[in-house]
Symmetry: C2
Subunit: 730 residues, 2 copies
Amino acid sequence: MATLRSLYRSDHADRPEFNTNFDVDYVIHYQVPAEDSTKAEAAFVQLIEALSSVGLATEVRRGDDSSVLVFVKVASEYLLEQHAYRYRVQDWLYGVRTSAPSKDLGSCFQEQPVSEAEKLRLVYLLITKPRNEGGAGVTPGSGQWTSVKSIFPLHNHAFNREWIKKLSTNYFIEEDDINQIRDKFGEQIAFYFAFLQTYFSFLIFPAAFGLGAWLVLGQFSWFYAVVNCLWSVVFFEYWKKKEVDLAVQWGVRGVSRIQHPRTQFQFEREAQDPVTGEILKVYSPFKRLQRQLLQLPFAIVCLLVLGSLIISCFSIEIFISEVYNGPFKQYLVFLPTLLLSVFMPALTTILTNLAEKLTHLENYETHDSHQAAFVQKMFVINFIVSYLPIILTAFVYVPFGKVLVPYLDIWHVTAQHFTTDGKVEIQPFEVNPDRLKKQIIYFTVTAQVVNLLLEAVVPLIKRKVFKKVKEVKTAKNGAPQHEDHEGEAAFLQRVRNEAELDKYDVTVDYREMVVQFGYLSLFSVIWPLTACSFLVNNWVEARSDALKIAVGSQRPVPWRSDSIGPWLTSLGFLSWLGSLTSAAIVYLFNKDPYGPNGVPSNVTGWALLLSILFAEHLYLVVQFVVRYVIGSLDSPGLQKERAERFAMRKLHLQETLGEDFADNAVAANLGAGEKITRAALEEEARKASVSGSGTPEQLFWQRQRGAQETIQIGRGLISEAAAANKTKSQ
Amino acid sequence: MATLRSLYRSDHADRPEFNTNFDVDYVIHYQVPAEDSTKAEAAFVQLIEALSSVGLATEVRRGDDSSVLVFVKVASEYLLEQHAYRYRVQDWLYGVRTSAPSKDLGSCFQEQPVSEAEKLRLVYLLITKPRNEGGAGVTPGSGQWTSVKSIFPLHNHAFNREWIKKLSTNYFIEEDDINQIRDKFGEQIAFYFAFLQTYFSFLIFPAAFGLGAWLVLGQFSWFYAVVNCLWSVVFFEYWKKKEVDLAVQWGVRGVSRIQHPRTQFQFEREAQDPVTGEILKVYSPFKRLQRQLLQLPFAIVCLLVLGSLIISCFSIEIFISEVYNGPFKQYLVFLPTLLLSVFMPALTTILTNLAEKLTHLENYETHDSHQAAFVQKMFVINFIVSYLPIILTAFVYVPFGKVLVPYLDIWHVTAQHFTTDGKVEIQPFEVNPDRLKKQIIYFTVTAQVVNLLLEAVVPLIKRKVFKKVKEVKTAKNGAPQHEDHEGEAAFLQRVRNEAELDKYDVTVDYREMVVQFGYLSLFSVIWPLTACSFLVNNWVEARSDALKIAVGSQRPVPWRSDSIGPWLTSLGFLSWLGSLTSAAIVYLFNKDPYGPNGVPSNVTGWALLLSILFAEHLYLVVQFVVRYVIGSLDSPGLQKERAERFAMRKLHLQETLGEDFADNAVAANLGAGEKITRAALEEEARKASVSGSGTPEQLFWQRQRGAQETIQIGRGLISEAAAANKTKSQ
């Protein structure tokens, strides 16, 4: 395993296993089942034959004591280039690239060499694509490939080392870094880092402004709320444009439509694509729509299930911390946290499974749309878990606490059952207005830090423990220790370690950032320092995510992508919702936060609703304006796209119609038109004089032969008219 | 003049002037000024020379007694085709067309002949484009062409006759009719009729449903409001898609960007277009943005000026009709109408001028964007004039009438000044809840009918009167009567009449429809029969608009366009606003419309706001869903576009790389890949065995030579692992 330390060790040059991948493109981790080894052998033979039939070279080595490792590389450079070229042409055919790849293979790869990411993606497709589409059809864990545990590329540790070093000594991730990430890990992960960097840069403003607001304006300032909303609109609209721009610059715009078809997709019938003439598998969009409607009951179920858990724990907590005054209070306050940490993961897992089932039911053609639909459903769960507690505090506990606390008698009665004398000491209830701020600080500082630690440390410990267990087991079993070939032993050890690592899932990291953005947009008016905390957190987050990819996970398959996908919708939604919640919070708490009873007073329904209504429409107007302004700016990517499309068309024109014509066509200018014109006119005049008389039309146009006669007669008519005019005016 | 009667006369065949245009493309109406006829003659000479220099044939004839008519046609078919071809190629270069025009001119025009509209557009551009861009540079009324009064094409009366006949005997305007309109009058007008037809078809549903609602549910039904909102969303989203579809089918998508540059555009600097390499005139978008911000004060001014007029008249009316009970009441009730009809047109004219000035200040590059910006400003004026009176009644007069009427004392005091004894009889005020319905009926029935009549009849009368005046004048002056050539006299008379007609402005007709849609969306819950009235009205409207174009106006220059332009935004806005007003109206009036005092009772602010808030968000959710559903349907136009783009790229590929490759590239399939693979593998193996040993990488890949060795060794490893597993599990 490449530990952080090993990556940074100065004697790295002495450890060749981290500096070479032995030209290996992919490693197939082949698990030998405990029984039926004949079957496993047969499947293995099929595997190697399938791989070699599509032009992949293979080597096999021992894995851990119950698996073997198959090393795969593409057999020849020429084959790879053939593949790469065909995929590039396909991209162009489907409009993903705007410029056609150069006709000559050599110059095509000179202009745009095959990057590591492109190579790895192609080889992965070669391994996994169905046989009838020219791949080896090896799909880990399904069908005949149940023994194939995973297929993963090897880390480029030389790059990883440089990358981590550079990131950890720089404040910003530069465009150049993003491009490097793209070359090594593909566009999907590059998009994540580009988003993270944009978000980080944008956070500087609310962090500075929030600090100022915290010092000068205090909590619940409407001015802070307005600026914060404005910022979130600008950020969202800017990213929306930036995203398109990046996709165009990277030549991946629209790639989600054609990339990565799902093997599980069930089709109803086959039909010819009216566009490409291919045979397509079709599934009725209406049927899918019907199934998508199930999202509504799903959201309701989530709200009911998670909501009731949160409300129960919330009310127990209030009862214990603010009403209850009996024995064991100091222990009992941990009860709700305990309940939450037991039931929440369980319920979330159940609901996640449900979401997965629903998404499968919706039966998408491509992985990207499947993933997007799944993320949408997960967002509902995340939303409830992350924001409902604060919403409860802000909009239920503080304003209605006094009214609702008597209903907490249910816990009082419950508590009485547990005491011997049936008596429970209670204290008079007071709404604790500080609770809201404390909760925000918990979610935006404590939880973030805890999360970061969990993310970084837990997998590390998990891996160490597993490794130890394995070692102990192996030692106990006394399984035969085989010697690796000298010179590759260390490398093989490294590969065995990488085989044990988890897969990296970028959606987890996106989710974290989007949920964080939500706190900022929805609730930061409660505690303006929120953005400061996030700024610090995200600097660390970017580095820890990089480490997670470089050290903590298998190298991801470098998929392409043309946006941050479904998270964009979530961002927009949270930004919009922020205008509502901020307005409501400011209205409720701004007046006199620590009023007579520490609760907002003089709250009237219509004024609350009016502030919300007003804020929302202000938001929509601002969004409209910002969108217009950002839309009217030209972006390098879109410009590039237009230029390439134009150049391509002009080239086509030059090739078919000649240089001159193409130049003139730009201005739709008749260039050498005048000559044609004169000739045509003379010809016309000649014809007319020959024919003498003819149809009424010919007669009409023969009254004046040529422009000179028109001029002559016209002058006569004008003098006449002028003379008549004069007579009249006299 | 082609009167309606003359178009329909059975003896049409005997009136050749309506059946031929003598091949004339355009007529230039050249006004001879009362003084300085020498200058006029010189300008005339320049005009004819300019026209003939770009290949236009000319004939001159007498106009009315102070003008001459210059007849223009393109000199040869060949020249026209050259122009048409170059414009088509330009369209393709700029991405307006997706398919490149055929390389061979002959087959290009066989596939897609030059329509009347295309020809007329090209000739118009030839006449009006600046000289350095290859045109004659004749711009009516400006610069050296102050004497050029107008440039207009001649009506195709044979077509017009058929068209009007077909329209007036059919319920629907078919797709075929729209295509014919497009061929004769260009895409801009075709878009109007397509919109009108779609709107008309969509109206059938709310008309039927409205009738049912009126019979069963009565006024102010929330169910009607919901259905009506849903309908307006579906209509709007459908049209948005349909519009794009039509634009693609007609090959005009994106044409507004490149069409019709404004000669008045002021540029700051010249720069090279990064895309096409042309020299472009650039104006800073930020400067324009600053000037666009002036729209806000403009809107406020409009609201203040028009608003105060409407409020004054409104309050006077209420005072006179419902408070005042003195003498002359039967005459005085007309006072507010009188005031409105005097001041409203005056104020509207002033504000329109202001809007024009503002739009000029914003300095747009193209006519289309200029027009769009102007329409936006006009929409503000239209909105206030059309809807404010109803808004006042619904949201001020009825709910707050009791409270506000005492303030009408100002009119009472004013009235006292006009009486001799200073006494004015008044009656006790009662809010008249029927007023709202009456007002709606007025706006949606009476006003529509009046408007239709005004539109159809007034220009007719105006023309008749003007003609009479002219005849009388001419007779009195005894100006010399010249005989036209026999055979063209009737035709010339017809042309002289057409020269006197107004220009047709499609925005006026769009405005009417959009304002009408607004009544339906905003207020039809007050009177569900609204849509019935509109359905009837619009059937007539379509025919009367056709008549206006065919008989009442000069034939319009057939401009292209790719959408209904700025009206789309207005439609969306009105549809959205409808959700708010409908909810408010239903809440205010639904309970007990004729309560104790005939006014809504039990109105609470928060409940009102909550209904609005709820309705609006329901609207937004529904819009989101409808947009998603409509978006997921494929449309023939977009499919055509994709297919053409794909075909074009594939063609390019076939031309450069060969047939086979292009076919395989569609699936990015390596087709003949296997052969290459085997060969490559064998070559690889050969090389390896030759080189013997080498770098660690080479050594690594030489342990197993070929797939067979890998299989062999792999089987060994698997058996070992399986054996070890067995030992372990025992």
